[in-house]
Assembly symmetry: C2
Homo-oligomer: 678 residues x 2
């Protein structure tokens, strides 16, 4: 989730009514979840094991680990994580696909700006004043807590543990949970007092809640006087460069700029592992568009897509998300405009191709009170996990807000223009004070009167014109003088005048899809992870871990190993490995003496879709991860087959039809029926 | 250049004697440089125009621009730069090739760690105490300056402008310049006083020089008490994870971990554009190796490489760098070991394939006084630019220093082990005090005596053994008691005993190649940039800018445009563009009404190696950037031809032989002779 959209909420003074909060809070966090997921043509319902088992496996395999672990306890390291070797490969694959899908696919202008950001930039954007969470302090030892977390924990625990709780009280607590994100500092403080909540570590009394700015502060240069922050989002670097990018694009709209980079957020008390961290990778797009024309030339490419959407109306009336066709959503005005909808569609394609289960993906529209006053419309791509629905991509039409904010602060124009094919005649109201007459009438005050007359808006000017025409005189308040003066007809002319305009100048609207890459990766872990019973033939006695990554993002596309330790087979395996490297296929070779069962188990835990077993010097078997089916392939074909499979040119069913030898899977009959119905 | 290698110098208390400093200082910075460079088979000497002209063009084309320019003047933004669209593409290509060449090519474990780093980690590494530059302050207004910069500027100006300078004085100033980096705070301060140097902006007196820590400081969490820094290098994240990575690698050495990421350095006064910035991308490798075996299995792959090396001896004796064969350098002991030399060779291949001119690349060995006491050997890849020789890659054998430092600070073992195929018998000296006898003799002091006996080193114990055998008694100083005691033969047994050892435990050595990506890119700009006279046919009247990027890193592999504005040609151009996208070839299509001359000029300024001009509906011409030669290619072949050219499968000469139509280049005869000598 992008800091931007959070700021947006904060800027608006409203926050998301956490629809799922009460619900989520009542679920034991590690309860097994029943999920339905699709593997190729095969649709099965599996018991997903606990989140803890998954996290344990992911950390053991170095997908990610807490940072600076050897100093654990000696330093504040919460909310900081490392990606280990398979995690980096996965992340690089996700980012490469992001670049391909968005930057290349849409011809975006990718930029890279520093993380260290001078204060003035973030003052203009509103982050210095409003990028805050509410905090309370232990009044005795100074420990800090997030006020809403304490209240949430109190209500949740009460609801879970107090079996004798009165129905009335339970209802109240659930109501508090649902409104949690909407509470002001005062309201939060009042509730904390009312429930007698104290500091969890000491039971000491707590301070009133007060805002804590979430940016990491530092300063540039040796004097210590140039305050700076680590950027909380990448977007501002793009906005301040609008003029350069517009020029680079041949002074043409629409165009989009994109940036992938680190962002920082000094959370008060990070929880939820990879979902709430203090440093994270954002991938953000700022699509600049004429506010008077938000159609999109490629909208028809996504108009027929259908997926779960959760419009405002359904949320307010207590209904669920529903399947909507994107074209219909725009036609009915549910989504504000084509460009916003186009990006929603592209985000849907991006996430599902990564391996996000579309049944656990929804696009939720912001309610009016969560949106900034300037925003035209906002949708979040939310992904369901064991933590509830997680906001992973924000897609917001932020109108002209950001460019105007920087324009005001920097005193530089950040505008686009549209040249008319021929000049247009425009009529505008002109207010012309007659300086001589006001000077005579008001002496030293004349200048202030003239300025005040010129500063009238159209409505005020037209009223004055009417009054002057009707009565010849009007009482006019001059705020710089702090008093009323009497304006006569000879002191000002107010009239419409015609003027030729050669171009239109305007501040473009910005449509911003903002991707929290770490969150998406975490959700991908949850949607990819499952366990299966070890079989008689397997050497592992416990449940076996599998990560169902699609080849597109899998850190390793395949593993290679000899069936038994044997010099000849080892040489064949090494030869295949070399050819795979030459073909640019990421893989892992294993020529240790480990048993074949363990090698398959490792393959599955790393999420490699295929395992190549060398059991002859002329051919090998290739095993597919999820079905465990095997095919026999000649040595000279193996790299081509793997390349075709992982590049999406062929499906496993295609390969199986040609090369199948024997079926080991217990799902054989089921698969047969599904894959080859005739 | 990596912060690590700088720290290394600082840790050793010595610094690089800037061999070129005096020289560089005397060169006007923007003087035209004569450089020789090679384009394919063609070797020409060109006048490279001024650095300012190049920087202007690069900024106009958005390769890079100063960050937050709209707030210029209102905030401290020096040393911060953005990469614009072609710059990001170039950088991504450099990083992709780095990953291919090093991470994939050597099977390295890539990791990603946060930039925000708790103080304890950088305390252990030495950065908190020693990552400093010497600073002086204007005593009246508090403005800060780098002490060595002021002294350097003073000497340089004096040498350049004072035409009547005495020979003696000139010699002295040149000597100061040469020793600049070696001066201590006291020596710098003394020189500043001696020469009467004052604050450049105000002529106020200056403070004594004092160390300023270059890390950006911040704090983690809301309390403000957990000090942290933005990492000055990426290496520490790898060191603290050694145990996990070693385990991931199957507890086997050698292996290398790699990390690409942002690093930060709060420079006192950044100068030299992209070469000295406050935030930059590092790509670092930590290769862990058994200190008793630093051979490298693939050394023979680089042993025959020959290039400019600048060993210690040549530097000290005032000679120049010379061409050395890498195998010879190791055999003669010039480079300490095979693994270090292997990386030197791989770095040479990396840089030259990027487009760095090998005649302006040298590997310079650190002098003993620039190296840390623990380092075995260090070499810098230095690239010659208009700023002099720039350190772009540091390749250091840091021995066991980093792992040991973190082990001590964290109190955790960071070691590798080697299991012996069969247990080895080892003999060790065992000191066994006889507690009963010492107790009887020394009563309450007995415990201290026993401890002191056990704490003896081998030499002390052997001496005691000999004395006891000779005299039966010996005087022994117990430091914890602060007095001598008399040890008799019955109080201690000292003897060699045999023991079986099943493994060897040791701290691995680290060989660290560390790449400053921004510096490499800047050098690549200088080595790629040239201008050529516009010809009669060209529409541009001034000199034309060209960036001679090899296809490997060129941001755009080609441009595509119709010869004239024509609906049919435009459609053909769009079709080619689509096919190029499908083939994954980065390119730029231009269907504006701009003249063909300008389109070629833009192609050259972006460094696109090829331009495709649509001048028919069945075939196109392809123009090569540097020779300006053109070939005619059928429409259905064009993508294949460009793909082969840019993937390095064919050379321009290959294509020209088949498709040549007409020669436009004035280099025709020369080229012919060089490309087709027979």
């Amino acid at each position: 989730m992008s800091a931007a959209s959070s700021l947006q909420s904060r800027a608006a003074g409203g926050t998301k009514p956490d629809i799922d909060a009460a619900n989520e809070a009542l679920n034991p966090m590690d309860e097994d979840l029943k999920v339905s997921s699709s593997v190729g043509a095969l649709k099965v319902t599996r018991q997903v094991p606990s989140r803890q088992a998954m996290a344990k496996m992911l950390q053991e395999r170095l997908f990610y680990i807490p940072s600076f672990k050897i100093y654990d306890g000696a330093a504040e390291t919460a909310g900081l994580f490392d990606y280990g070797p398979p995690g980096v490969k996965l992340k690089n694959n996700v980012l490469a696909f992001w670049r391909q899908h968005f930057v290349l696919g849409e011809n975006m202008l990718e930029v890279e700006c520093p993380s260290v950001t001078p204060e003035i930039v973030l003052k203009a954007s509103g982050h210095v004043d409003r990028f805050t969470d509410l905090m309370v302090k232990d009044e005795k030892n100074g420990n800090c807590y997030r006020a809403d977390h304490l209240l949430k924990d109190f209500c949740t625990e009460k609801l879970q543990k107090d079996l004798n709780i009165a129905e009335e009280k339970a209802k109240e607590l659930k109501h508090v949970l649902a409104l949690l994100d909407d509470l002001s500092a005062e309201e939060l403080g009042a509730k904390i007092k009312e429930y007698g909540i104290t500091a969890p570590d000491t039971s000491n009394p707590l301070s009133d809640p007060y805002p804590f700015n979430l940016m990491f502060q530092t300063s540039i240069g040796p004097s210590g006087s140039s305050t700076a922050y680590m950027r909380p989002e990448t977007a501002q670097g793009i906005f301040v460069n609008f003029n350069y990018l517009y020029y680079y694009n041949g002074n043409k709209l629409p165009f989009a700029a994109a940036q992938i980079g680190q962002a920082f957020r000094n959370e008060i008390a990070p929880r939820q592992g990879l979902l709430r961290v203090r440093e994270f990778t954002l991938a953000e797009i700022e699509h600049f568009v004429d506010p008077e024309d938000k159609t999109h030339p490629k909208f028809n490419e996504v108009a027929e897509l259908e997926f779960q959407m959760f419009p405002r109306e359904e949320q307010v009336s207590g209904q669920s998300a529903r399947i909507l066709r994107l074209g219909e959503a725009v036609a009915k005005g549910i989504v504000d405009n084509q460009t916003l909808a186009y990006f929603i569609g592209r985000v849907y394609l991006f996430l599902t191709r990564l391996g996000i289960d579309e049944e656990r993906l929804r696009f939720r529209q912001h309610l009016p009170n969560e949106m900034a006053h300037y925003a035209a419309d906002c949708w979040d791509a939310e992904i369901e996990t064991s933590y509830g629905w997680i906001e992973c991509v924000g897609i917001a039409d932020r109108s002209a807000y950001d460019l105007q904010a920087h324009s005001v602060k920097s005193n530089k124009d950040l505008m686009a223009h549209e040249k008319f094919s021929e000049p247009r005649e425009v009529e505008e109201l002109v207010i012309s004070p007659v300086v001589k007459e006001t000077g005579l009438a008001f002496k030293a005050d004349g200048k202030n009167v003239v300025e005040a007359l010129r500063a009238m808006n159209e409505k005020e000017a037209l009223e004055m014109k009417a009054d002057l025409e009707a009565k010849g005189e009007v009482v006019f308040y001059v705020c710089t003088l702090g008093k009323n003066v009497s304006i006569k007809q000879n002191m000002v002319t107010i009239s419409y005048k015609k003027r030729k305009e050669h171009q239109r100048r305007f501040t473009p609207s910005v449509i911003e899809p903002s991707f929290g890459i770490g969150r998406i990766i975490y959700c991908l872990f949850e949607h990819s992870y499952y366990t299966r019973q070890s079989q008689a033939g397997d050497e592992q006695s416990n449940n076996l871990n599998v990560l169902r990554f699609p080849p597109l993002v899998a850190p390793f596309k395949c593993t290679v190993f000899p069936l038994v330790q044997n010099k000849e087979y080892e040489e064949v395996a090494k030869g295949i490995s070399k050819s795979l490297t030459a073909a640019g296929i990421s893989h892992k070779i294993d020529i240790t003496g480990t048993s074949i069962g363990k090698k398959y188990a490792r393959t599955d835990e790393l999420g490699a879709p295929f395992a190549i077993t060398v059991d002859s010097t002329t051919s090998v078997t290739i095993r597919e991860r999820d079905s465990k089916d095997q095919v026999r392939v000649n040595l000279n074909e193996v790299v081509v087959v793997v390349k075709e499979l992982t590049a999406g040119l062929k499906t496993w069913a295609d390969v199986w039809r040609v090369h199948r030898v024997r079926r080991q899977s217990r799902l054989r009959n089921l698969l047969n029926k599904l894959c080859f119905p005739c």
